[in-house]
């Protein structure tokens, strides 16, 4: 608790710096793409959001595994707190992708493997949150939700490799490739700055949500004690 109170201001400062500088770079430094023109700037929201949608799920799965094996009480707090943040980034990746798709593909939405598996990721997040919301006993909810999160992790490699396994309209990977990025550095490094800002934003919100969740459990315990007394 104390740790997060000390670290949190720095996390917010780094998030604000990353997003602020990233926005500046996105609009004033990054050049228009030679094919996509200015519409390429949507990538600076879309791609970091998509990365964070996966990072969020990864956090959830890792915490769920720790929660199931080591029963560390903070682990299921972390998993539960990461879910809405990951869901928000998945939503943003889909919306920004659609807004780019309309002028570039001629449609807001297409049922290709990448977009569909990302939509499935959003539904998995919502299902996970629904489990926490509907199961009364928090210990049982934590176990059921953890198993659900781990099973849902099969979707992560499907999203990652969807562009290779299927013939998608969505373009293949251009940043994290074995043979190096195929995207020009003038567009690549603003992308990394925004992504770094988003990552710190994710960590900041996660810490706030975890503190709130710990207190929520304390409230529950105090209420039960007072009801019994």
């Amino acid at each position: 608790m104390n740790f997060s109170a000390i670290v949190l201001p720095y996390v917010w400062a780094l998030a604000a710096a990353g997003i602020g500088i990233g926005l500046y770079l996105s609009f004033f430094v990054a050049p228009p793409d030679y094919q996509q023109g200015d519409s390429v700037r949507i990538m600076f929201v879309h791609v970091p959001s998509a990365w964070l949608s996966q990072f969020g799920y990864g956090t959830m799965v890792a915490s769920s595994i720790v929660a199931l094996i080591f029963r560390h009480p903070l682990a299921d707090v972390a998993a539960k707190s990461a879910a809405p943040i990951g869901a928000v980034f998945t939503f943003l990746a889909l919306v920004a992708g659609g807004l780019w798709g309309k002028p570039m593909w001629g449609t807001y939405w297409v049922w290709d493997a990448r977009t569909t598996s990302t939509l499935v990721l959003l539904f998995i997040y919502l299902g996970y949150m629904a489990l926490w919301a509907t199961i009364e006993d928090p210990n049982r909810a934590a176990r059921v939700a953890a198993v659900f999160a781990i099973v849902g992790a099969v979707n992560l490699p499907i999203i990652r490799f969807s562009v290779d396994w299927w013939n998608t309209l969505h373009q293949p990977a251009s940043v994290f490739r074995l043979d190096g990025p195929t995207i020009h550095s003038s567009l690549l490094w603003p992308l990394f700055v925004v992504a770094l800002g988003f990552t710190f934003f994710f960590i900041g919100v996660l810490m706030v949500r975890m503190r709130a969740e710990i207190l929520r459990r304390k409230v529950r315990t105090l209420q039960m004690q007072q009801a019994a007394a």
Binding site: L23, F27, P32, G37, D38, S39, R41, I42, V45, H46, S49, P84, I85, V88, F91, L92, V95, A96, L99, W100, K102, P103, F201, G204, V205, V208, R209, R211, A212, L215, R216, K218, V219, L222, Q223, Q225, Q226, A229
Partner: protein, 58 residues
């Protein structure tokens, strides 16, 4: 056309670009705000419950 109009026009892609950034700003601010308000609410509830327990004891 002055340079700002040109800037907001974004080569004709303005509406798509600006709405994608605006939605991101609004949704992310909303998430941060909701998380912070929830934290404040839980802090208040804990304080109230602890005060009540204290009163019962005395």
């Amino acid at each position: 056309m002055d340079s700002w109009t040109e800037f907001f026009n974004m080569g004709g892609y303005g509406p798509y670009i600006w709405s994608s950034f605006l939605i991101a700003v609004v949704v992310m601010s909303g998430l941060a705000l909701q998380s912070w308000l929830d934290l404040k609410k839980q802090k208040r509830l804990v304080a109230e419950l602890e005060a009540r327990a204290e009163r019962k004891r005395s």
